[in-house]
């Protein structure tokens, strides 16, 4: 397929890997964070870390939209789903995320009308087909899915669908990155920037990373050659003593982002003062809620939710995995009590989660020789 096959060329991959090898200084350890869960998935799927010198370490970041949802939000969703007359809709991955007393899938088994949708538009369609029921969409995700929710809310308003509302759990990418950079746990040398988030927000919001923290950022695509080239570009910046935002994914990401998407998001959403992230705690101005103009379509206004903060299970170390402090397999319950079939933590739920990606693709090749 165009835009795909040419970025999976093994020979070119080997050539970029050799280039990477020539750029690393022996004795220096390089710690690079891939921010986006899609990158984590590709890295394990294609074995990209096995092509890298042993002193180039990839650390998995907080960019999986499912993994960062705290248990209390799941409980809130389940409470709405159990309300009489409600059809609760969400993305499939979200259904398996454990709350304090089971997941949305468990709630569905217990009788709640919970349906998997592929987009908020599907949820709106269900609302139009069921005018006597209240249809709630559990909106999650970064700036990639937020425009979709915003456009659907505008459409619901324009088409007059009074029985549709949204439980907004959208988050933004910059505040957690800043929190990670401020964290004393983690010393990073550079970032593989999120590709599709950047189609919306553009490259400019990441400029604070080189300006304030002197670290390079390279926005990258999701094919194996994209990721390898991004790593090569970061190492090239480090070798030259440069730090700047570069765009490896120019075929998709315009430097200024999608202005229409930013406008519609600004109209429909506003920043919450703080939002709780799984494992990262509360981060200021990192979550979105519906703006006053759309408050009548806000499920948290329309229904009562417990809104109770629930601590993560003690055995689960998703927080440390999300911050890149430990590798998935270093978690005490990885692959034993916590598996994709029976996840304890969110990182094992989504295929973009570091634990699930590692469990599915990478666990057989942990040991490798030092190059």
């Amino acid at each position: 397929m165009k835009f795909v096959d040419e970025f999976r060329d093994a020979e070119l991959g080997r050539a970029v890997a050799m280039e990477i090898l020539s750029l690393v200084e022996p004795g220096r350890h390089y710690k690079l964070m891939e921010v986006c869960g899609g990158h984590t998935h590709s890295i394990y799927k294609y074995g990209i870390d096995d092509l890298l010198p042993a002193n180039v370490e990839l650390v998995h970041g907080p960019g999986c939209p499912v993994c960062v949802i705290p248990m209390g939000r799941v409980d809130d969703g389940i409470a709405i789903a159990h309300t009489d007359g409600v059809i609760f809709t969400c993305f499939g991955d979200m259904m398996r995320v454990p709350g304090s007393d089971g997941s949305l899938l468990d709630a569905k088994a217990a009788g709640a009308d919970i349906r998997m949708v592929y987009s908020p538009l599907d949820a709106l369609r269900i609302a139009k087909q069921n005018p006597d029921r209240e249809v709630v969409f559990f909106a999650i995700g970064f700036e990639t899915t937020a425009p979709s929710t915003a456009l659907t809310l505008k459409r619901a308003r324009a088409e007059g669908v009074p029985n549709f509302s949204v439980m907004c759990s959208h988050v933004t990418i910059v505040p957690p990155l800043r929190a990670l950079l401020e964290s004393p746990d983690l010393r990073l040398d550079g970032f593989i920037g999120p590709g599709h988030v950047s189609t919306v927000v553009g490259a400019r919001p990441f400029q604070f990373i080189p300006t304030d923290y002197r670290k390079p950022v390279v926005i990258a695509g999701f094919e194996p050659l994209d990721i390898l080239q991004a790593i090569e570009m970061i190492l090239r910046q480090l070798a030259a003593g440069r730090c700047e935002v570069e765009n490896q994914y120019k075929r998709v990401v315009p430097w200024e982002g999608n202005l229409r998407a930013l406008e519609v998001m600004a109209e429909v959403f506003e920043l919450r003062p703080h939002f709780e992230w799984r494992g990262l705690g509360f981060i200021s101005h990192s979550g979105l809620k519906l703006s006053d103009a759309y408050a009548d379509l806000d499920a948290e206004v329309r229904f009562s939710v417990p809104g109770v903060r629930v601590a993560d299970p003690k055995a689960c170390q998703c927080g440390e995995v999300l911050k890149g402090v430990i590798k998935p397999w270093e978690c005490k319950v990885f692959g034993t009590a916590c598996t994709p079939e029976r996840p304890i933590g969110t990182c094992m739920v989504s295929s973009e989660g570091a634990c699930a990606a590692y469990y599915n693709f990478g666990r057989f090749a942990r040991e490798r020789e030092v190059v």
């Binding site: 993305f91 499939g92 592929y118 990639t144 899915t145 599709h196 189609t199 094919e223 990401v253 430097w255």
Partner: protein
């Protein structure tokens, strides 16, 4: 189609809406601001096109959660 995996040979997970899917426009519904699009396996879906309009059959779009975020191959 698989759930939670990628037995489709593609790199995306169909259960997670937050995943970019390259799709080709098949037919355009101008009145509703939607386009019928097909992915690489021929699976079709209605896609919101407000952020990239106007679109025409044959255009390739990057679709997230049912909304086209950008055109493929046209970014500067």
């Amino acid at each position: 189609m698989s759930v939670g995996g990628d037995s489709r040979g593609s790199h995306h997970c169909i259960t997670c809406g937050d995943d970019g899917v390259p799709m080709t426009v098949v037919r355009v519904d101008l009145d509703r601001g939607l386009a019928l699009c097909a992915d690489e396996d021929g699976a079709r879906a209605s896609v919101e096109t407000a952020l990239v309009a106007p679109v025409a059959p044959g255009d390739m779009l990057l679709v997230h959660a049912g909304t086209a975020l950008t055109r493929l191959g046209s970014a500067a």
